[in-house]
Symmetry: C2
Subunit: 594 residues, 2 copies
């Protein structure tokens, strides 16, 4: 298998390539469980592997087999890729990429360290994270913190091309992983706390030229909406975004696009979500602020939106809609459905028809969610509870005990889906907040937040997180494992009947897919905010994860903050974390005892 793969990679590098080849290559590779070829595992964002050497019965015999320090402190989100005998490991700023040789316990084949102006660091709201690299066509694609998108030769680490995807001087940075779809590499933008105009850009993988660019907010020709673009089954009509903003506010209107990207090859649609409208102060920006907080289904070739759905119109809580879209064919209320499942920051788990955007299920996946009573299934709008409306009290009013907190019932940490159980395995936050909006004026490159907040567990609870199994057809929690801290790590489901995730204290945990029963835990060097992945090499299944505490939940530790009000309110709730773990990026690769 390795040889075959190596030849394929070599061929991809050597031959004049077309987009079709790159896509066919990825479509084939994502089905090969020996590899982990894209940051999302596969296009459907399942994070499920058909590998099953590691089972419910033997997972207790799992042990680290080799480890690798990245040489970088602060938060390590994302996961490595495995292609042939090579593993590609990324780091937070300065965004080093390592190519490691799996035949040699991770010996370094090449190292790429971009030169970046460190002035980008304070322009990153929630730690200097990076969520990984993409692969296609013999190239590794890296979206650097300073918004440079670079294509590297996968064999040598040499730069093939690079382009500027944004301007840090305007608060535009990159934290998300690119995704290759057909002959294009898609990459979003971060900066919702700096008043960016969010967009998704597709670059031709051959030379980095722009294929299409689709903004989240703005005029139709910028957001790539046409007369057929629908929401809740109806055409959205002309200037659907502009109509929901006061004056020119959309130009600094946010809707950043820093989440994971999905793709349905049959429908030829790419899916992703947009983040909060800027500023966090809702009083300053009347209207629905479309299409912030929105799921986009766009044509992969043109970028034109087929359908959209806005989860949180006129956001008052920073409930970014960027969380991943999981594409699964599941029974929904008894009917086999081409579904899109999305666990939103706002605490609702949404199930939609991914072809036409029909809303099928919208239920709370944390029972403590209180800002809205429910989602109106006709309008798709949440029914906001006035007590928890941060706009209702006006500026400088402190609204209290809002659940979830700004970092949501789930944030970037991706869920997994098992086609055997039809269940979704969701790493969640169990955090509430006090929120106080205040007036803020926009200066390019300066924080444009407009609210202070503090976070804490829900009343009566001591756990800040849960790892849950979710029935997306019914909108019901099947089981729930409490965790002392937010589960900020991505999950992995496997055909061995085992689901893996990491904890902020640093444990890699394996639980029974059916029951949630803990089967194994190992304390890695630092808190885990990376995503668990698996691959097979030399006939043996391995589990790998980056540890390295940080991210928004760990920003207090990562940035050395001490005041509870620092770090967008994440310091207080997670203060105890420093009793469990310290900074440090390390990859740990696990295998079964012989």
């Amino acid at each position: 298998m390795y040889l075959k793969r190596a030849l394929l990679v070599a061929a991809a590098v050597a031959l004049p390539t077309s987009g079709v080849l790159a896509n066919e290559e990825l479509m084939k590779m994502e089905k090969n469980p020996n590899e982990w070829v894209m940051p999302t595992g596969d296009y459907a964002n399942h994070r499920y592997s058909t590998l099953k050497q590691i089972t419910k019965d033997n997972v207790k015999n799992l042990h680290p087999v080799w480890t690798f320090s990245t040489g970088v402190l602060r938060g390590h989100e994302g996961a490595p890729l495995v292609i042939g005998n090579m593993m590609y490991v990324h780091t937070p700023f300065p965004n080093i990429v390592y190519a490691l040789d799996l035949n040699k316990n991770g010996q370094i084949v090449w190292k790429y360290e971009p030169r970046q102006d460190p002035s980008v660091i304070p322009v990153m709201c929630c730690d200097t994270v990076n969520r990984g690299v993409a692969f296609a066509d013999g190239k590794i694609f890296l979206a650097q913190a300073d918004a440079t998108l670079v294509a590297l030769d996968a064999k040598t680490g040499k730069e093939v091309w690079k382009v500027k995807n944004g301007d840090p001087k305007k608060g535009e940075t990159n934290t998300s992983a690119p995704q290759v779809v057909k002959d294009k590499v898609l990459v979003g933008i971060s900066g919702g706390e700096f008043g960016v105009q969010g967009r998704m850009t597709a670059y031709n993988i051959k030379d980095g030229s722009v294929a299409w660019k689709a903004y989240s907010v703005g005029p139709d020709d910028q957001i790539l909406f046409d007369s057929k673009t629908t929401s809740m089954g109806k055409p959205v009509g002309k200037d659907s975004s502009l109509a929901t903003w006061q004056g020119d506010q959309w130009k600094i209107g946010g809707g950043a696009t820093w989440g994971w990207i999905s793709y349905d090859p049959q429908l030829n649609l790419v899916y992703y979500g947009s983040g909060n409208p800027s500023t966090w102060n809702p009083v300053q920006r009347p209207g629905d602020n479309k299409w912030s907080m929105t799921i986009f289904a766009r044509n992969a070739d043109t970028g034109v939106a087929k359908w959209v759905y806005q989860m949180t119109p006129h956001d008052e809580w920073d409930y970014d809609g960027i969380n991943e879209m999981i594409l699964a064919d599941i029974p929904v209320k008894g009917k086999e459905t081409k579904a899109l499942v999305h666990f939103d920051r706002n605490g609702f788990g949404y199930t939609l028809n991914r072809d036409n955007g029909e809303l099928l299920v919208a239920e709370k996946y944390d029972p403590k969610v209180n800002w809205a009573t429910h989602v109106d299934m006709k309008t798709g709008r949440p029914e906001v509870v006035k007590q928890y409306s941060t706009q209702a009290g006006g500026e400088d009013h402190n609204s209290q005990n809002i659940c979830p907190a700004a970092l949501g019932s789930k944030d970037q940490q991706p869920a997994a889906y098992s086609p055997t159980t039809h269940l979704f395995y969701v790493p969640t936050n169990h955090v509430c907040m006090d929120y106080e909006p205040f007036k803020v004026s926009y200066t390019a490159g300066q924080p444009y937040v407009g609210a202070t907040l503090s976070m804490y567990p829900p009343k009566g609870d001591s756990n800040l997180g849960n790892f849950i199994a979710w029935d997306a057809g019914q909108g019901k929690i099947v089981w729930s494992d409490p965790e002392p801290f937010s589960v900020w790590s991505g999950a992995l489901a496997t055909a061995g009947g085992v689901v893996f995730y990491g904890t902020l204290e640093g444990y890699l945990k394996a639980v029974d897919m059916q029951t949630g029963k803990e089967l194994y835990r190992f304390k890695t060097p630092s808190g885990i905010i990376g995503n668990v992945m698996t691959y097979e090499h030399g006939g043996k299944q391995y589990i790998a994860v980056l540890s390295g505490v940080g991210g928004w939940a760990g920003i207090g530790m990562a940035a050395g903050l001490t005041k509870d009000t620092d770090g967008l309110g994440a310091v207080g709730a997670y203060k105890a974390l420093s009793s469990y773990t310290q900074l440090g990026g390390v990859l740990t690769v696990f295998g079964l005892s012989n």
Copy 2:
């Protein structure tokens, strides 16, 4: 056992303590193999454990059981202590100390992070290393980089007292581990490349007051020599140091004392070595430069020297004599002897009578050593080969192919001794050099090196290190395992018949004590320059080691140097190291599979 220990510690903290108690406590504790109570393992510097759950047969089943990132990059020398259910882990600058709970996979009980002026960093010649903390009397003793010696409450991490042991503005820093002997804590000084006047200082553990201070060079009342002090069996006479220096040069004469400290309770003698005379340019400092490059045997109560032995009179190569003194009762040439065994930087393995300093054996422990043909057993002086004398050619003359290089056939990495085999297990460097002295003038706090050098493996060899077994009674290598890089990690010998050491690429290795055959290896997150230690907890034997590449051999990586002439010549030879490992301090604790 844990309960008993906890009570003992509690008692030690609570009761008014006397020096006798502290010493009795340590004497008892060092014999308890469940603990690792001093940085040297025991007073004899054996680094041998009677624990034997882990054997030649089952060591292949060793696996990491938990890990801990220290949150600090750069070189991690030394080893943690284990006392009761607590493990004390130190870091390089900023010299954090963690108390970890062994009952909870290393959860942090307390963390102490001193405030130090980072201007001390460039005053540290060979990375910002620290070799560990000492324990006694309910206190943890830390010698910070800035030469502050601090006593911490072992239960809480609160400062009990602190004193200045030196002045970084004069190039005085601390890298070595303190050692508690009776009611005193002994600590040396670093700064041989900055023209310090080296000394060993004994502080009363109760309050940090100075009990005695003994310089390496200077007048008798400073070096604490009396009429009975001998060398090679004869009284050294009055002003033995002053007579070997030109004018006042001794005041900036070096003889730093940054190595490990041994103690023989029956003889009541402490043993340690002194480093290079300053400057490295031998032309500038005529004379034997006594007592640089010397083994000292001093009365533990008064500091007065009983005997001394200078390995390298008038050093021309930076062959510091600071390497550890191993106290072992062994047959030497057929006669049972209270021996002191010392593997000097200069490439000779010395065996002396530790009571009277009689020189018994002096043989090369690397066959490529060429700077001297042999040691004259009557005078104790090495027979220098003129070709390799860096003084012979004068200033600005480049002497080539001198073996060993300045970092010696062994440096700080401590050897282990097994009383079962009567063999010494020695981590060695296999490195030669070109050396070019040049005139330099002294400015306080500025480098006072006076030579450039470059290092490389001996001609015809590709390995930069060997791990050897040494018969100190005969002065012979018993077996030798080549290693691609210097073995910069300390060894551990165990009653299970297994010897452990780490490699610069990051492997923890276990070899057969009898044959050197490799039995196990594990790739830890970063290169290992720490010392392997063992302890028992909850009835189970564990092996632990700090990884975190750096130190002199790894200075190129640790300090981000690129030019071969940087880092006192260590960059070139070790350049390939960056293909194997990256920076990052991580403790890995190993146990057998259940």
